[in-house]
């Protein structure tokens, strides 16, 4: 810390399950320079002010998806957000909304992990190729159909932005549906019929009311709202085609 450091107030919603009945706000004064991220501010608190503060982080460069938190009520990656943007005002930090708080800024993400598993986020080919047959091929144009949706880093900011997920925790949610769409649209995959059942369910695309905030907060411009809402059309087609086509149009 040098004499020309500025000082910003960071308020953190603390919750220590062993001691606290419910979360409470705790304020810290943090010196910072213009190149410091909110994550670095939180790390300063842990290193110098209160070692009991808990939070997740890893890569510090917006690719691991671990450090998401509510920054002044908006879900953001704390490594990609700078303290200077809020100075001289104060910053209020809270664990990602709509998830149970495990401790301080750490959420219980098991619900998201279960949903991610349920959509089978991997290529299921019609006929598996042997090593001798080589890789599954894809043209640049085929890649282009899915490239945007495959940029998801599972940071869960979209879940924290989605009031429908907060109101109906059974809803499959933006990231899981987007990745489902990414594999369904992949020319090397043949498990669309299986995944459509998840999509068609009440907890699938029809849980979405197009608030659209998921796409606003996505740090990777994945546009989950587009993936979900295009699948409302797919789900409708799937429903009606089963009456005319023998295999539900798939």
């Amino acid at each position: 810390m040098t004499s020309n450091d500025k000082i910003i107030e960071i308020e953190v919603l603390r919750y220590r399950p062993e001691q606290d009945e419910k979360p409470f706000l705790q304020s810290f004064k943090v010196p910072f320079t213009d190149d410091q991220s909110v994550l670095q501010g939180v790390q300063y608190i842990k290193d110098y002010l209160d070692g009991s503060l808990s939070f997740r982080w890893s890569c510090r460069m917006a690719i691991c998806g671990s450090c998401g938190m509510m920054i002044n009520g908006v879900p953001k990656l704390s490594c990609k957000t700078f303290l200077r943007e809020y100075y001289p005002g104060k910053i209020t930090l809270e664990a990602l909304k709509h998830f149970p708080i495990e401790k301080d800024l750490i959420i219980d993400l098991s619900d998201f992990i279960n949903k991610l598993e349920s959509i089978k986020p991997y290529i299921i080919p019609a006929a598996p190729r042997t090593l001798e047959q080589g890789e599954y091929l894809q043209t640049p144009r085929q890649l282009d159909r899915i490239a945007q949706f495959s940029s998801c880093i599972n940071c869960m900011l979209c879940y924290a932005a989605c009031p429908q997920y907060g109101l109906k925790p059974d809803y499959l949610g933006p990231a899981a549906i987007t990745l489902l769409h990414r594999y369904n649209e992949d020319n090397r995959d043949a498990a669309k019929a299986e995944r459509m059942q998840l999509l068609n369910a009440h907890e699938g695309v029809w849980g979405c009311t197009l608030v659209g905030y998921c796409s606003d907060v996505c740090p990777k411009d994945v546009d989950p709202a587009a993936a979900i809402n295009r699948n409302k059309l797919n789900s409708t087609m799937d429903y009606f085609l089963r009456f005319v086509a023998p295999r539900g149009g798939n």
Binding site: P163, G212, Y213, R230
Partner: protein, 130 residues
């Protein structure tokens, strides 16, 4: 023994806590005005089928300050709804391709305004000269 005690935050009043949610609720509430407007039109049709006197009474009722105020508010609600719909339409439709390239979102949105403008002009022409 586990000391886990995950805390679930309440959702009460969620839609007032973020301007994005407030605009979402406003967008959804425009349906109320559009719905009432549709009922008024249906009543007008019923009155028309009941004869000239009933129809004229409905026309007079439509000229009351209350009716005019409602129509102005309903018009505002419908315009707001259209603007929000035009802006999200590119998310709802499959990607539009032209010459092997994705058509940019801004062009799709602008295209809808142009299309709506043409329809309004045609309707206006039909009313004035049709």
């Amino acid at each position: 023994m586990s000391t886990r005690k995950p805390y679930v935050r309440p959702m009460a009043g969620w839609w007032l806590k973020n301007p994005v949610y407030v605009r979402y609720i406003l967008r959804e509430s425009t349906a109320v005005f559009v719905g009432i407007y549709a009922v008024i039109l249906l009543v007008g049709l019923l009155r028309l089928s009941s004869g000239e006197a009933a129809w004229n009474n409905w026309l007079i009722a439509m000229q009351s300050p209350g009716a005019i105020l409602f129509h102005v508010v309903a018009m505002g609600a419908a315009v707001y709804h259209s603007v929000t719909w035009f802006s999200v339409a590119p998310k709802v439709m499959p990607p539009l391709m032209f010459n092997g390239e994705k058509v940019p979102v801004a062009k799709i949105v602008a295209g809808q305004y142009i299309f709506a403008g043409i329809i309004y002009l045609v309707l206006l022409g039909l009313i004035l000269w049709g």
